[in-house]
């Protein structure tokens, strides 16, 4: 995801309308890459073992693309517990966003501290975490405008995918699209070498653990991958420290 450039504070500081327009202008480019993802989620809803209306309600109840896609596509093979646990693990990255933005929420009104986090998807985090120097009310308006924009456009795109997807023949094998989507998301999310270690170990262990009942292999793979990534990170930091000490001599 491209880093959003901090908007010139002068353009947003004065009028509420100006802030909202700036928020939309910043939000739209980041939404474009999410469009195919939304379409895939819509198609997956038509394929889902869940009733279509319930699968569609993930837009409003969950509002998190990866967790929605996992929920609707695992419904056929996973038990209730595995499904919920997998989505929970997928969402753990949001804890990082929450941690990073929490200082910015401290001086905000209570209603916003409760409602704001619902909209906290990757794109909104990317936009608002680089604008923390805006005055409180301006930042809040910026956050809510972009958040509501993402909520409405995401729901629209998924619904379009649902309508289009139900008229596409089974031979097109759109059921493979979620796996391709997740593989692409992994690659685009890789920022460093320990990330690659985490991904390879996660996939490898899940492959070995495919016979674990109730799709438990996902969790076994995920936990192994996180541990491997963490250890690789620690090892890399140690090595860098050693190199730094040598260079300093």
């Amino acid at each position: 995801m491209p880093a959003a450039e901090p908007v010139d504070p002068r353009s947003e500081e004065h009028t509420p309308a100006g802030t909202s327009i700036a928020a939309l202008r910043a939000a739209i480019p980041l939404f474009i890459p999410a469009i195919p993802f939304g379409l895939v989620v819509g198609v997956a809803i038509t394929d889902s073992a869940m009733p279509t209306a319930v699968a569609w309600s993930t837009n409003v109840v969950i509002f998190a693309g990866a967790a929605q896609l996992a929920t609707v596509s695992l419904a056929a093979t996973a038990t209730w517990l595995t499904l919920v646990a997998t989505a929970a693990v997928i969402n753990l990255r949001h804890v990082m966003y929450s941690a990073a933005l929490s200082p910015r929420f401290n001086d905000q009104p209570r209603w916003f501290r409760w409602i704001g986090p619902f909209f906290l998807i990757d794109q909104l985090f990317a936009l608002t975490s680089v604008r923390t120097t805006l005055p409180g009310p301006v930042w809040r308006r910026f956050y809510l405008t972009a958040g509501i924009f993402y909520f409405l456009s995401w729901t629209t795109v998924v619904t379009v995918g649902l309508v289009v997807g139900s008229s596409i023949p089974v031979e097109w094998r759109l059921d493979v699209a979620p796996a391709i989507m997740f593989a692409g998301l992994v690659v685009l999310g890789l920022a460093n070498r320990p990330g690659i270690v985490a991904a390879v170990v996660g996939a490898g262990v899940c492959l070995l653990a495919l016979d674990v009942p109730n799709n438990g292999g996902i969790l076994v793979g995920a936990v192994s991958g996180v541990i491997a990534g963490y250890l690789a990170d620690v090892a890399e930091a140690r090595r860098d420290d050693r190199l730094d000490t040598k260079a300093a001599r």
Binding site: P33, W80, T86, R93, G184, L207, V226
Partner: protein
Amino acid sequence: MNTLPALAAVISVGMITYASRAGLIVFLADRPLPANISRALRYVGPAVLSALTVNLLAGGRGIDGVEFVEVAAVGVAIAVAVVARNLLAALAAGMVTLWLLLWLL
């Protein structure tokens, strides 16, 4: 999956999603995460998404569920994602590979 268990699953996932987004903002304002935890959290994304990819390829049928055409499509998508850094290009390349192989084989 019947309506009721499906709805229960969706609401549970929704509550967990909200909790992971709101937890630190609503309840633990101004208390930073321990460094070790945030270090480990960084690797949750790659680990769980790659495990999920493998699991979806198997489709609940163990190793027998992994089809060659699917693996090839995902492999091409990964290669395109590495080179182009673009999700749409990766998805398109993967699907086109899948269709070509299904047509050829």
